[in-house]
């Protein structure tokens, strides 16, 4: 495949002076695609952009732009190739908006030339695409932040670049303008064949607008992949130290990241292991609170696709897998028994019990009878869909000494008392 | 100035009585002149009665040029001079041995190089002056005005002399003579100077006054206007000062071009080479430049209000009427 690489990093080391920020970076951006860079602060995403503009140093390896070695480009040549949309646009002075955009024609204007017909056309088009034509005669110091940002994009487009670099250009824009700018950028990539390399802090936006995403962390760049593969629960936990639910947004069909808790927020106290019996989202709060409190949390049997199952995956909670909507089978029962045996305590959430999952409750009751501390959340009334079997097991557990808790806070307190008597 | 009017009492005492009488007469006239110059206290010495030596008797009262009435209680033995002109007067009156302190600007006569320096003309060093233990200080007014008060506080006797014209120079010499007991010497000196001046004015008498300009400083251009010593010297030497404004005054180059003086004079401190004048914008066209009538004057002669001012007058006369006055 000989798609032209507009940017080609190969084994590159970038940084400033003697300091290396990112080493061994290999990344390519093709015409017509949007490549997003995500990663924690200070990882080097901006540095990778700045090496393309020449503001950061290439300390090793190669970087070529449209086939030409980056170091061989003059400032003018580079400006004809690369357009930059900055993070913040400050209007320290005041010119007419159209004049501002016309500054983008500089790399195409000969030494003493004045902007001509063609230049005016390019400027007009750039302003039309960015919806800034109606601002043409206004002075820049009278424009809002959003208008200015779009104007800066117009200025970059006036350069007729083959490449667009965006460094988190939408953080201070309102929702509407944020989508407007990003929609436009993606369109430009598709329709004009411009290659886009953009730094995103918002993972959802990155996933929504990028064709491929490269994760930059700990001084390295992971290979660029499609968003679904680049952003996973494991990646998010590893790179950001955040346990998040990574799923597909039902409306847009793109990857969506829902953070649950930060690794750093988890208490460092070792409390012991607790088995949470949940399902249908009823165990979610419990699992989260107990993980935060420092417990080693495991779960009973969960159906795939169940809300609790997705959270368990995100939190790194071990559980017995059962297929969607399927009842517990002997294998999963055995698994849960084993999990229960290894626990110091068991918590039963207010999940409704039916024939498919009543075995979870049975195992809890049996454990209670053999001395494992058990906490029961709520009352069994209204939750028994197993023709009385659940109520019986509930009573058995109560008789065996299982404690009752009215809400999640009480559960946590009771468990604390159990952990440190 | 060709004659050194330095005489001593012992020398005088060997002359004839008739000469002594003439001197006594001159001394009386000098005293009268001093009285006319504003001395409020009557001279206590009846000079005309002594046949032989005109010896001063102390104490003596002088009014100086700062309008101060100063009493000198005894004949001064240690004199400090704060101006080169005053130093020259002191030496000319035969007081050279008594001078114990001079300024860094002093350069005449040659003996002054050996005398202790007590600071410069604009800021005399009070401590150095005190260390010299003077019983008479010859100062000036103007820049030294605030110094006078400080010196008085030291308990020193200070006389401020600031002649603005020839008559003032004579008066300064005479008052210095009175204050130091060198009255006859002062009279003789003044007499000699007047004779020399008369000689010069006589040699240019009857001639058409030559228009002249004298430059004191270059940047900014400063000149001596009416009422200054230089102005008087120019007039006495057979010239007319083109400057009609009074006192020391800034002058515009345009005005010099307009006035177009026949002779352009400059003091050595302002301009060292006559050829320099042609460098200035427009000055090349001045008739003084075109005719080579640009003369450098010795500031020490024309600007110092002392005994040598007559030599300065001669310099100017030579510049204005080279054919009539010989060097």
């Amino acid at each position: 495949m000989t798609t032209e690489h507009l940017i080609a990093y190969s084994g590159a080391r970038v940084g400033y002076g003697a300091t290396t920020i990112v080493s061994d970076a290999s990344l390519a951006v093709h015409a017509g695609e949007v490549v997003g860079l995500v990663g924690p602060n200070g990882a080097g995403k901006s540095t990778l952009l700045r090496a393309v503009t020449g503001d950061a140093d290439l300390l090793g390896g190669t970087l070529s732009l449209a086939g030409v070695d980056s170091g061989a480009l003059s400032a003018l040549q580079r400006a004809r190739l690369v357009g930059v949309v900055p993070q913040q646009v400050t209007a320290a002075f005041s010119v007419e908006a159209r004049e501002f955009v016309t500054m983008g024609r500089h790399p195409h204007l000969a030494r003493f030339a004045v902007p001509g017909e063609r230049d005016r056309e390019v400027v007009e088009r750039a302003m039309r695409l960015t919806d800034t034509l109606h601002l043409a005669e206004k002075p820049t110091d009278e424009l809002s932040g959003g208008d200015l940002q779009r104007l800066a994009l117009a200025q970059a487009l006036a350069q007729e670049p083959q490449l667009l670099l965006l460094d988190e250009p939408t953080s201070h824009l309102d929702l509407n303008h944020r989508l407007q700018v990003l929609d436009l950028v993606r369109e430009l990539a598709r329709d004009e064949g411009i290659g886009v390399l953009a730094v995103f802090h918002d993972l959802d936006l990155a996933a929504r607008y990028s064709d491929r995403i490269a994760v930059v962390a700990s001084g390295t760049v992971a290979p660029a992949e499609i968003p679904a593969r680049a952003i996973t629960t494991a990646t998010v936990r590893e790179v950001f130290g955040v346990r998040a639910v990574v799923g597909i947004d039902p409306v847009t069909g793109t990857v969506s990241v829902t953070p649950v808790l930060r690794d750093g927020a988890v208490a460092l106290v070792a409390r012991g292991r607790v088995l949470v019996i949940g399902g249908s989202g009823c165990g979610s709060q419990l699992m989260r609170r107990l993980v935060l409190a420092g417990w080693d949390v495991i779960s009973g049997a969960l159906n795939a696709g169940d809300a609790d199952q997705v959270l368990a995956e995100a939190l790194g909670v071990d559980y017995a897998h059962i297929p969607p909507f399927a009842p517990m089978d002997p294998e999963s029962v055995g698994r849960v028994v084993a999990l229960a045996d290894s626990s110091d305590a068991i918590v039963v959430s207010d999940v409704p019990f039916g024939h498919g999952n009543v075995d979870n409750l049975r195992i809890a009751a049996e454990r209670a009878e053999s001395g494992t501390p058990v906490v029961l959340l709520g009352e069994i009334e209204g939750r028994d869909y197993a023709e009385g079997a659940a109520a019986d097991l509930w009573a058995r557990a109560r008789a065996a000494g299982a404690q009752s808790a009215a809400d999640v806070d009480v559960v946590v307190r009771l468990l604390e008392a159990i952990a440190s008597p | 100035m060709s004659r050194n009017a330095r005489t001593t009492c012992t020398t005088r005492s060997t002359r004839s009585t008739r000469t002594a009488r003439r001197f006594a007469l001159v001394a009386a006239c000098a005293l009268a002149l001093v009285a006319l110059a504003g001395c409020t206290a009557p001279a206590e010495k009846p000079a005309a009665e002594t046949p032989k030596v005109v010896a001063a008797t102390f104490p003596v009262t002088i009014t100086d040029d700062a309008s101060r009435t100063v009493t000198i209680k005894a004949e001064p033995q240690r004199i400090v001079s704060l101006a080169p002109a005053n130093t020259e007067i002191a030496f000319a009156l035969g007081l050279g041995d008594k001078v114990v302190g001079v300024t860094t600007y002093d350069d005449y006569p040659a003996e002054v190089t050996k005398i202790t320096k007590i600071g410069d003309f604009t800021t005399p060093n009070i401590e150095a002056i005190a260390a010299a233990k003077p019983d008479l200080i010859l100062a000036t007014t103007g820049v030294q005005a605030d110094v006078l008060a400080k010196l008085e506080a030291l308990g020193a006797t200070v006389i401020a002399l600031d002649p603005q014209n020839l008559a003032g120079v004579y008066s300064a010499i005479e008052r210095t003579g009175k204050a130091t007991g060198a009255i006859s010497q002062a009279a003789a000196l003044v007499e000699g100077m007047k004779v020399d001046v008369d000689a010069i004015t006589a040699s240019v008498e009857g001639t058409e006054p030559v228009s002249a300009f004298v430059e004191i400083a270059q940047n900014p251009l400063y000149t001596a206007g009416t009422g200054t010593l230089l102005d008087e010297l120019i007039t006495l030497a057979g010239g007319t000062n083109v400057v009609t404004q009074p006192s020391w005054v800034a002058y515009s180059a345009e005005q010099v071009v307009k006035d177009n003086p026949t002779v352009y004079m400059a003091t050595k401190g302002s301009m060292s080479d006559p050829a320099q004048l042609s460098q200035r914008a427009g000055f090349k066209e001045l008739s003084a430049v075109k005719n080579g009538r640009v003369v450098i004057l010795d500031d020490n002669l024309v600007s110092r209000p002392g005994p040598r001012v007559v030599e300065g007058l001669k310099e100017i006369a030579v510049a204005l009427h080279p054919a009539l006055v010989s060097k």
């Binding site: 900055p86 005041s94 200025q155 | 345009e254 301009m271």
Partner: protein, 341 residues
Amino acid sequence: MSRTRRHVSSVVAFPVLSLGLVGAMVAGVALGAVSVAPGEVLGALGRAVTGTAAGLSDTLIVGVRLPRVVLAALVGAALAGAGALYQALFRNPLADPYILGVSSGAGLGAMIAFVATAGATMLRFGAVPLAAFAGAMLTMLLVVRLASTRGRLDPTSLLLAGVALSYTLAAVTSFLMVVSREQMSAIVYWMMGGFAQASWPYIAMIAPMFVLGAILPLLSTRELNLMLLGDERAGHLGLSVERFKLLMLASASLMTAAAVAVAGLIGFVGLMVPHMVRIVLGPDHRRLLPASLIAGAIVLVLADLVARTIIAPIEIPVGIVTAVLGGPFFIWLLVRGERRR
């Protein structure tokens, strides 16, 4: 479509400025300490053109006043142009031509020349401006050297280095003044700035420097506009920023050094004139730079006229006139500009 036009259009501004310059120069030649009839003034000028100027009256106009007016115009243009450039390079409205210590360097150079030629004042004519020029340029080179880190010229470092050097050189100059008292009044008067020395040879000395210093910036007004966007952005749009900064700095310093060398230290013009022009014409350098040159010339020609006529024959140092007249005028412009918003 509503247009907010706060600035005067070029069509009006430049003819007005040009006429203003001609008018100022004519006034400067016609008026002075000595009054000359207007007919004679024109006659003298005419004769100057045909080369038949003769007589003292002509000399006064052509030999004394005309070089003075021409020199004032050149120096005014140089200072205002340099000021506009420094303001663009530093993106700081308080930048003036002396910001890099160039004035202190020139002062020291001149002081050394004064002391060295104390016994041979004939040499002063050429020695003082040359030494002042050398002092100014050497200072600029030193400041640039001190402020370059990793090949980049940081505006803050430049400012700090300039200020530090300014103080040091001024101290050395003061010391020299105390040690050589006789030269003190001459050097102080020189420092206050003035055109009393103006002559055609002097103009021959500064004119090439001025042209050399002005030519590059006038051809680079588009790039100067880019600099307003900030160093990084200007670079992204294709400007070789560090090289450009150095070239502009050199040009501005050349103009400043030449101006200071022949006219001493005249303040206000370099700082205020570009500002006044900016308020009226806007920040676009394609208009700002040429207009600053012309406006600077007008201001200084008029200031010199006032300096030498108001209490003739005493000449007030030009710097005092520029400050006294210019400060309040600028305040008025500023207030007027604010009210319009």
